[in-house]
Symmetry: C2
Subunit: 371 residues, 2 copies
């Protein structure tokens, strides 16, 4: 499904762009960050929390959902939107990344990936066609093509093979899709080799995908390598389609990604860090470890400038106590805070692009995080 | 502090009574159930959830709070109300029960209880005076006297000693209290020996406590023994003070306790069971195990007649999936449901007493749970 992506403003000094697209669930303003709901919920939060946070679109993991609750349950229960109550947009990944990073014994052939899942060892066979079919059962608004990636340190030939297979699988996904309400994004591979990235994005851009993702980054390469690769990849993706940087990253990565023309991001970092006591403060420019004893008697909120639910109600001292005591409540409260920081950052970025001051925003950000 | 307890209605056929009392935080209608917030939160829930559930008063555990976050933090952070945001009434236990059930090496003398806490083994010395002082630091509206109890199967002499010490400690608590905003309840011991119960309640009733609790039940005796003991204890406690049955119990225990003249209850059962998938349905008359495979594809709410947040939004199939996958969100959602069942049951009981039909309510309840 065409997302009717429209660009509304561009930064004169960077590749940053302001836009919006529309799924059957509603409009999404870009650049956007998507909270990750790995196994059917954004850990600790329900849809009421996510709506209150202003999340526009969330991500579901096909690999995890195909294992639990499984396709039969997803279909019987009306899809993940109905199950979790989420009324806004949802993107699902294809499961390819988790097969490589999580599963047990696996065998990848031209037909697809046969693997043992990491939960109970049961064997699954994921083909491009099956990945599309499962994502239709989940009922996401944007599906991702099954892709194949090589580690960023792998030799050039591995990346060329991964690209070629990713293209063939992407075309099979395009062929296989049946849901008229679901958009389909292709994924550009090529590691940190700029020429390979260029070649692969040209290959994929020739086909009618509804958006394009940059895959295979933030998987071991250095941050300068990642930014340099992004610099030559994202801006060359089709102008008129959303550009999605998969699985990235820190608040600084979001700012730097937007500067390189990225429209969409997802990452488990805000929620995963929150559960361990790593809290973003100062709009994402700094981080504190709430387990630190200096917060034990601290009556101030996590971030005095944060308007989130948690900061409006609870002190660092109370939250630290709950964290140290492993009280369940704390995981929700801290996740709300970190997601609020991320979502507010994206709002600030959109406002800066709209006002023609994203260049200044970027310069100030870089100065703040360097200081 | 006198709670200004007023009786508003009595059941003609049982000892059930409808009343209300007032703490500095507001009014509490009885019979009432108090959700338990062991370590500074009702596990998984915040005060917004608890207010939405209609909880009037919650319970905090002095033993747990004295260990973590500790008195220094409780005082620096302004007490547990301010920390957790809770604006309504709170009762704290004295820690005596946890010393016997949780702590490591302990030595109980006339002076108090010296013990190693179960978290880090540090030694604490809890005296009646110290128990009152800690509860003042927590800032609860109702404090409990430090008591001493014998197992219900212990010989009569152990119970007599426990009663005598409990009385002496209760009088020391009365002497030690300094907070003019905190009520103080004494605890009746005596195991399942009706004569001992009678003797101990008379001993305590001679002193100006603000309420009286029945302790040492639901600790190993049979249910008929517990009800029989309650039958001869609760109705003989002072008419004009709240009567509190500590640590009890199932929905049926609440109904049967009210029938024997109990005004206040607390128990971890609704929240603890919820976290394991034990959900009350049919107003508390039945229970389901949500882990059961028969709920895997079930699109119905936990209880079709329940108006709680969870039942209005989520299906058994989705909740079962979250439970099996150990997704954090589920503990909050299931706890909300079980607490809603308990709090709604108490509302129904109050309405029945007010309308003069509690006898019929009790008969119908007994028929339903026997069937």
């Amino acid at each position: 499904m065409d997302l009717n992506f429209r660009l509304e403003a561009r930064c004169a000094e960077t590749h940053a762009r302001l836009g919006r697209f529309t799924t059957t669930r509603g409009e999404v303003q870009t650049p956007v960050f998507m909270p990750v709901g790995t196994v059917g919920s954004v850990k600790g939060l329900d849809y009421v929390d996510l709506e209150a946070l202003g999340a526009q679109i969330i991500l579901g993991n096909t690999y995890h959902l195909a294992i639990r609750p499984g396709i039969e349950a997803l279909e019987a229960l009306g899809g993940l939107h109905k199950m979790g109550g989420w009324r806004r947009s949802m993107l699902t990944d294809s499961g390819g990344f988790q097969i490589l990073s999580l599963s047990g014994r696996r065998k990848i052939t031209e037909e697809g990936a046969r693997f043992q899942n990491h939960v109970n060892g049961a064997e699954l066979f994921l083909t491009p066609e099956r990945a599309v079919q499962i994502q239709a059962s989940i009922g996401s608004d944007i599906a991702m093509c099954l892709d194949h990636l090589a580690p960023s340190t792998a030799p050039r030939q591995d990346h060329e093979e991964a690209m070629a297979r990713t293209t063939r699988w992407a075309l099979r996904c395009l062929e296989a899709r049946t849901s008229p309400r679901q958009a389909l994004f292709a994924i550009v591979q090529g590691g940190v080799d700029h020429a390979l990235r260029q070649r692969h994005l040209e290959e994929l851009a020739a086909h009618p995908f509804d958006g394009f993702a940059v895959g295979g980054l933030s998987v071991g390469e250095s941050i300068p390598q990642m930014y340099a690769t992004l610099e030559v990849t994202a801006p060359r993706l089709p102008e008129d389609k959303p550009r999605y940087l998969m699985g990235v990253g820190t608040p600084t990565d979001l700012v730097e990604g937007v500067a390189r023309g990225v429209d969409m991001f997802d990452c488990v970092m805000p929620t995963r860090n929150a559960r361990k006591g790593g809290l973003f403060v100062d709009g994402g420019r700094a981080r504190i470890n709430l387990r630190n004893a200096r917060f034990r008697l601290d009556d101030a909120p996590l971030d005095p400038n944060c308007a989130c639910y948690t900061c409006q109600r609870f002190s660092r001292g109370y939250l630290r106590h709950l964290l140290v005591a492993q009280e369940l409540l704390v995981y929700r409260l801290l996740s709300i805070h970190n997601l609020s920081i991320y979502l507010r950052l994206m709002e600030d970025i959109r406002a800066a692009i709209r006002a023609g001051r994203f260049g200044a925003f970027l310069a100030a950000w870089r100065a703040a995080v360097a200081g």
